[in-house]
């Protein structure tokens, strides 16, 4: 007996949930199939040692689009909002950044940073408008597409002559050159470099790292928060919104393939043999696994297959989880500072040097880290008096020379802990349990090809009109009835929900037109 639905969404990642909720809200009978036993995809809280829980992949919230919150009436409880970023210095002379303010640098830098932040957030606001819309079609577009493009041009022009010139100068540029020109403080330059390259296979000297930086600012101007109970509380809230609107969510149902009938999507088959039929299949999986595994290239055309095959999506960020029997000591930090986000990126060259080995398939022996102590603000994550450290550690290339083994993973984890110990000497003896997820582990656990959290490198050649690939950038795949709604589609990754929302809007408007 095959159950039939108006729409089937593959994967209950945050984008899949946003899309399902919006489709269900529009009156569709929606089925969401999730492989894991828990909804949330890469935005989940899970245990990694007895008594210790952590947001297992994404660990900070900064991009959730206001439009998504509004459309779904989301109410998220925060353990910490608008967190401070502390750029750690080995000698305790830290630099503190919150919004447009920076402390611990020269007066010149303070002013420059305020001006820089103002400009960047203004550009990010412009970009954000387009991240929350389906990208226009460049060829064979409709009048609406032309208007969107004209609007983009106009919006850029309306920045004013000077700012437009700056926007066009910066958008494809690397962040390194801009930072070196603008700021004196190495720590400030390092911290911004890290923000620009986090989660990518890019160094601060790589092209378009200003774009990735702007991307980070889209939505909430880079304000970082910590949801109470970890990331699962965000995705649980989304799941509630979907269920409240009538969507059915079934976990523990890995999808084996998308059923194709007469050249169009007709449903899905799960690994345990259940089939569900629907003329509308929406994949929250990344574009590569959607096309290569779930659809199979034999059901789509060669040019498209080749473009999907060639999407660059090798992750380079690892995730470190440590269970600590108490907070470590860091010179120059008070206890309250453990509620902040800390970064280890002493200067821009350090970040670039950390990236160098990754180009040749080696991990950084001097990695860069984004460190949080989520249990400091959220006691639900660790036993009383104990703490959790959650860090993103770069760079750990997906394609490690010789492959990732238990030994190489341990080696990389040791490098990360040693780096932490340079700032918090007592940290190693406080570790009672540990876990490191390499991109290969992330690929396996979260079913993201290449373990890349954007489901595809965020570079100009894979952005906007050509994301995930040219000819399929409007969520609809070149297979009738199949859509993408995940980070691999426009605009990209991060816990933003924009892709899921845009996809739902495209699906609904197409239906209306048909």
């Amino acid at each position: 007996m095959t159950e039939s639905y108006d729409a089937i969404v593959i994967g209950a990642g945050h984008n899949g949930l946003v899309c399902s909720a919006l489709l269900a809200k529009a009156g569709k009978r929606v089925l969401v199939l999730e492989a894991k036993d828990q909804v949330g995809g890469a935005a989940i809280t899970r245990s990694f040692a007895t008594g210790y829980s952590v947001s297992a992949c994404a660990h900070l919230l900064y991009q959730l689009q206001p439009k998504v919150r509004k459309d779904l009436g989301l109410k998220i409880e925060y353990a910490a909002e608008n967190m401070e970023t502390i750029a750690l210095s080995p000698n305790g002379q830290h630099v503190r950044i919150t919004g447009n303010r920076v402390e611990g640098v020269s007066d010149t830098d303070t002013d420059s940073y305020t001006a820089f932040y103002k400009r960047m957030t203004r550009f990010a606001d412009l970009l954000q408008t387009y991240l929350n819309r389906p990208p226009a079609r460049l060829a064979n577009g409709t009048v609406k597409d032309l208007l969107t493009l004209a609007r983009l041009g106009l919006d850029v022009r309306l920045l004013g002559k000077t700012e437009m010139r700056e926007f066009l100068r910066l958008i494809g540029m690397n962040i390194y050159d801009e930072l070196v020109e603008r700021f004196e403080s190495p720590l400030l330059r390092g911290a911004i470099s890290l923000d620009a390259v986090l989660g990518t296979h890019l160094g601060p000297r790589s092209p378009n790292t200003i774009l990735t930086y702007l991307y980070r600012l889209c939505g909430n101007h880079g304000k970082v928060s910590l949801p109470a109970g970890g990331m699962s509380s965000v995705t649980e809230a989304l799941a509630h919104a979907a269920r409240d609107n009538g969507a059915t969510i079934r976990t523990g149902m890995p999808v084996k393939r998308i059923i194709i009938e007469n050249g169009r999507a007709a449903g899905v088959e799960t690994e345990n043999g259940a089939t569900f039929s629907s003329w509308l299949v929406v994949s929250n999986a990344d574009p590569k696994s959607t096309i290569m595994n779930l659809v199979s290239p034999r059901n789509v055309e060669t040019g498209f297959t080749r473009r999907v095959h060639n999407i660059r999506m090798h992750g380079n960020a690892a995730k470190l989880h440590l269970a600590l029997d108490g907070l470590p000591t860091i010179e120059g930090l008070d206890k309250k500072d453990f509620g902040a986000r800390m970064v280890i990126a002493p200067d821009e060259n350090y970040v670039e040097r950390a990236f160098n080995p990754a180009k040749y398939g080696e991990f950084s022996s001097n990695p860069v880290l984004e460190v949080t102590f989520p249990s400091f603000r959220d006691s639900s994550l660790a036993p009383s008096g104990k703490h959790v450290l959650s860090a993103i550690v770069q760079y750990a290339p997906y394609k490690l020379k010789g492959g990732w083994t238990d030994a190489t993973r341990d080696e990389f984890m040791t490098a990360a802990i040693e780096k932490l110990a340079e700032y918090a000497p007592d940290l190693p003896q406080r570790v009672t349990a540990s876990e490191l997820l390499t991109p290969v582990d992330i690929e396996k656990e979260f079913r993201i090809t290449g373990g890349h959290w954007h489901h595809g490198e965020l570079t100009l050649d894979q952005f906007l009109f050509v994301r995930p690939v040219g000819g399929a950038a409007q969520y609809a795949m070149p297979l009738d009835g199949l859509y993408l709604c995940g980070a691999g589609a426009h605009p990209g990754g991060g816990i933003s929900g924009a892709a899921g929302r845009n996809a739902a809007r495209v699906i609904l408007s197409r239906e209306k037109a048909a």
């Binding site: 007469n262 050249g263 290239p297 034999r298 055309e301 040019g303 070149p478």
Partner: protein, 398 residues
């Protein structure tokens, strides 16, 4: 300074030694790295060998790929626009393959050698596209151009020549069929295919036996008017047969830079090769759109008045006494056998329907001075030359 000698020789076909002996004019050109003769004695003489006796053309330089593996049928079926499930082992299919935009990359013949094993032959090289088409499928693609010596044996007496060569059973070989024979202990594959539109065969075997085959063939054909032919004679006969040539009648889609310079199968008059019953093939979505909304171009076969070949001419319509340019001629020839001035061209739709009258602007030079005529041209449906003997099995003895 010393000058280094660089090995720049063009490849020589395994039949080269025999062709060189017959060659009187030393007129060769390059074909995919090989030397290929334009003409050996005289283009007209060689042309009449094709139409009146037997012409032998060396098609070793023709690009050949061997496609094998468990997914080979699925692979080929997705690659080309026609239904390859209907092409059983021992059969050959003429096919075109398109990019995702439904534009023709090339045309060629696909030999179903045995279950799950194919040979694809085309004028151009396509490894890059064929490799891309193999992503996610379990197939193996190998170029075997240099591993196989091939001859086209074409003309009314070609059957008699092969029979005389001792190929017993070749009388049962049907059009677009293939058979294997033993030639001096080596496998000789014979297919009833060709590029002349006449009774004819193509012979395929290991290069080591190439010269022996040539000698035996010319021995067997000595009383049947067998002649080596060059590209010039072949070109004339393929136009008569209405066959297309890449870079003449269409540009391979992947070689075009400007939009609108490539052609779809519909625009090349090959709609019979497009099978929408197949749920998926390269270009299907774009071609389905084109079928709904109409094509931009239409290939036309033209019967032109007069006797001046209409090479490179503009094609016009004439309305209220005024000419309007609607396309151009891509191939043209005087056809001695049809006694017609023929041409293949491309015109903007909706022009070019069968029976339409178009005008061809022919420039020609007489004692240095250029002259122009507007020649009336009728759009015809059938190939100019398509004799019954091409299809009859067993073939007639001429």
């Amino acid at each position: 300074m010393t000058i280094q000698e660089v090995q720049q020789d063009r490849k020589k076909s395994p039949f080269y030694s025999r062709q060189a002996k017959l060659d009187r004019l030393n007129q060769w050109h390059e074909w995919k790295g090989y030397s290929s003769a334009d003409v050996f004695y005289s283009a007209e003489f060689e042309y009449f060998a094709i139409r009146n006796s037997t012409g032998v053309f060396d098609l070793t330089p023709m690009t050949k790929y061997r496609i094998t593996g468990p997914d080979s049928l699925d692979y080929i079926d997705r690659l080309v626009t026609r239904d390859m499930r209907k092409i059983k082992p021992g059969r050959v299919a003429y096919a075109v393959w398109c990019d995702d935009q439904g534009q023709v990359i090339d045309d060629g013949t696909i030999f179903h050698l045995k279950e799950g094993e194919y040979r694809l032959c085309s004028q151009e090289r396509h490894m890059e596209w064929l490799t891309a088409a193999a992503i996610g499928l379990d197939v193996n693609i190998k170029e075997e151009t240099a591993d196989i010596a091939a001859l086209a044996v074409q003309g009314p007496t070609s059957y008699s020549v092969l029979k005389n060569l001792g190929l017993d059973g070749v009388e049962n070989l049907k059009l677009f069929g293939l058979m294997n024979f033993n030639f001096e202990g080596t496998d000789l594959m014979v297919s009833r295919t060709g590029y002349t539109g006449d009774l004819g065969y193509e012979l395929w075997l290991d290069p080591s036996k190439a010269e022996a085959l040539w000698d035996a063939l010319f021995e067997a054909g000595s009383n049947y008017g067998i002649k080596a032919i060059g590209t010039a004679a072949l070109e004339q006969s393929r136009i008569e047969a209405g066959y297309l040539a890449a870079y003449e009648d269409f540009l391979p889609a992947l070689a075009t830079v400007r939009t609108g310079r490539s052609r779809s199968p519909f625009e090349l008059g090959l709609s019979w090769l497009v099978d929408f019953k197949k749920p998926n093939f390269n270009g299907r979505r774009a071609l389905a759109r084109e079928k709904r909304s109409g094509s931009t171009w239409q290939l036309v076969k033209l019967d032109v008045e007069g006797n001046k070949p209409a090479n490179h001419s503009y094609i016009h319509t004439k309305k209220h006494g005024r000419f309007r340019q609607v396309g151009f001629v891509t191939s043209a020839a005087w056809s001695p056998i049809c006694k017609h001035n023929i041409a293949i061209g491309t015109v903007r739709t909706p022009n070019g329907k069968v029976g339409d009258t178009l005008w061809v602007e022919i420039f020609y030079q007489r004692e240095m001075h250029w002259t122009r005529v507007m020649a009336k041209a009728e759009v015809v449906d059938k190939p100019f030359w398509n004799p019954e003997r091409r299809r009859v099995t067993p073939p007639g003895v001429y």
